[in-house]
């Protein structure tokens, strides 16, 4: 792994307010905090944070409090704040700001924990700016002048290596390295810079939506559709598993052969194992 050349490529992380999944208390959003962590490991104190919204939001200080343990001990965080009301469209503001800032790599969480939480913002931004977008990054392995190599999270704990051309937007998965703690001192010292001169537009799309407290989703029942009562009763009374194959009187060698044959048949054991290089 080559040390990423951070000076050539300013890094920006988009941050927003989060909610604790159980208590509902405000705090850092899990994915956003991971994006900031990833940015800090890449660019150190040169990471710039951006938030579009309310300037009095107390959570923003929590992100600034993550600027510690860096090479430059006196480093302090900087956050650009684009003021807008909750009814405004953040895409426009962020796109204008990003286009002017000259940065080439933007990190964000996959989905916000407050508001619409649709995860569409990074895609709309990338479309507007004409940048590349990749979702669900676990680690960034290296950055060149015009390409980023990263590992993307796949289901079942698998990873895929992708090469992405700069400028690009990368959204970070919850399986990325956990964020460092937020410390009080750096949080106090960090600067929040309110950017004036950008006018927000109202988000027209969300005007007619009805918001309501989330309802628990109904559990799906196992329904047997059958013409006669006997079949329905039978299906309801039958044991869930029909029972598999039981093989007795095997020597260990025969059992091993059966097991290997079964695993090959179900494509769990491939003939030749994937011999890639290990994940760092």
């Amino acid at each position: 792994m080559t040390p990423p050349d951070a000076a050539a490529c300013p890094v920006v992380a988009l941050v927003s307010s989060g909610r604790h999944p159980v208590s509902g208390r405000p705090g850092r959003a899990r994915e956003d905090a991971r994006a900031v962590e990833m940015g800090l490991t890449l660019a150190g104190a040169r990471l710039q944070l951006v938030h579009a919204g309310n300037a009095e939001e107390p959570v923003l200080r929590d992100y600034l409090g993550m600027y510690h343990g860096l090479d430059d001990a006196a480093a302090q965080g900087e956050l650009a704040l684009l003021p807008m009301t909750p009814a405004d469209d953040a895409v426009l503001l962020l796109a204008t700001w990003l286009a002017e800032s000259g940065c080439r790599l933007v990190l964000a969480g996959q989905r916000a924990e407050c508001g619409e939480g649709s995860g569409l913002l990074p895609y709309l931004l990338a479309e507007r700016l004409g940048w590349t977008i990749v979702s669900g990054a676990a680690t960034i392995e290296r950055i060149d002048a015009d390409r980023v190599t990263l590992l993307q999270v796949l289901p079942q704990g698998q990873r895929r290596r992708l090469e992405v051309s700069l400028p690009c937007l990368i959204t970070v998965d919850t399986l990325a390295p956990p964020p460092r703690q937020s410390a009080f001192g750096p949080a106090r010292r960090g600067r929040i810079q309110v950017v004036d001169g950008l006018t927000a537009e109202e988000d027209s799309a969300s005007g007619e939506w009805r918001w309501q407290p989330a309802r628990a989703r109904p559990k799906r029942l196992k329904i047997v559709k059958s013409g006669n009562a006997r079949d329905r009763f039978r299906a309801a009374a039958a044991r869930s598993s029909a029972g598999g194959q039981v093989l007795t009187d095997l020597t260990p060698e025969q059992a091993a052969d059966r097991l290997i044959a079964y695993l090959r048949e179900e494509k769990i054991l491939s003939e030749e194992k994937i011999l890639g290089d290990e994940m760092p």
Partner: protein, 437 residues
Amino acid sequence: MNVRRIDPYAERIRRNRLHPRHQEFARPAWRWAGPNGVTRIDPHAIGALGPNGIRRIDRSGAVVETQPLASSPIESGPSRRMVVIDDPAGFVMVVPECPEGRLSDHDRDLFGLARQLADGQTLAVTAVTFQGAVAGLEEAGADRWIDLSATVDGDTHDPESRLAALVSVEAAMSPRHWLFADSFPGGGDLGRRLAARLSRSSSHGANARAATRVWQVAEGLALSRAGDRQDIQRELPRILLALPECAKPVSETRHEARLVSIDAAGSKTSDMTAVGVVDLGRVAVDPQQIPLSQAPFILSGGRGVGDWAGFHHAAEVLGASEGASRVAVDDGNMPRARQVGATGTFVFASCYIAVGISGAVQHLQGIAKCQRVVAINRDPGCDMVKRADLALIADGDAVLAAVCERLGQPRAAEPSEAVSEAGSGALSKEERYHDAA
């Protein structure tokens, strides 16, 4: 369905007590007078085997005759009604994820949702696939099928050319709705890309914004999960990204899945300036680093495992993550983080191998969602064997050793190391686990 066949020849012999082969054909007597005049009853000879293999005794005197389990009609299911839409008023596009080239449950739910949108308006549900030869689209509920495997490589992750192909489909058919599975990095990613692309070009007003995490559609309104414990109810947008179980899968009808060809070839590489995302392939992940709840393949050991070093070696050879029953954990053979079951981790592996685990309810709860279970146990009567799809009645340690040998990596190759390690082995093993957990 099942016609009971009568063999007239056997019937005749059964009636004729003087026939030389009468004993062979006669049913055994279940009640007879003993030598002292006491009435004897053979409980095994009365009644008949029920459909589940349980003996039923009907004391009403009626004759109970049932067929064995194998011919039970549950599996065959009721036959489906064929539905053909020749002249659709519009299209509802469904882009199934097809992991491993097969429709998943999530995909079937999507098709169910599409049918819910399409029925009553004679819209045609159209499946858009990037892999060729996807089976089961007829039963899932697709009227039309656009196979893009010629223009897009279905095996590599190439979201940009997929997006280009979808945009050309959009231009050719201008469907009413697009449905995606909201899961990263598959349908959730592609659907959002399409939503972003179409939001620029088209002017559909208020319902241009895609609805994500949709979990219910009722009366023309979509209900979607938002952040911070809120739901959003809104008019049906053009693009919906739906969660699993958003609708019931199609079960009563069958559709034709007629192939429709789209002239997508023109868009293939024409306006693709530079490829933004290049797939460099899967990375080999150390199975012990995968969280147990996500691991696709687990080798789990219980009290029946005697040779733990051999167990770890087998897990390494097979490329499986390690799990354990509570007894194995309590005995100190495995770390707590590896415990599977009610008080441990619930696992969702596609293959779970249980070695020397009896299958207590607390353990079986933890593996309820596993697709395939293999049991290696000495006791053919234990509950794990009943749960398993394949049960091998043999000694666990010996089988694992033989498996390693068959796969060409026997542990005996390093016996001196293993023996010398035995003294200090406990510590180094501990360390290894702490890294993994």
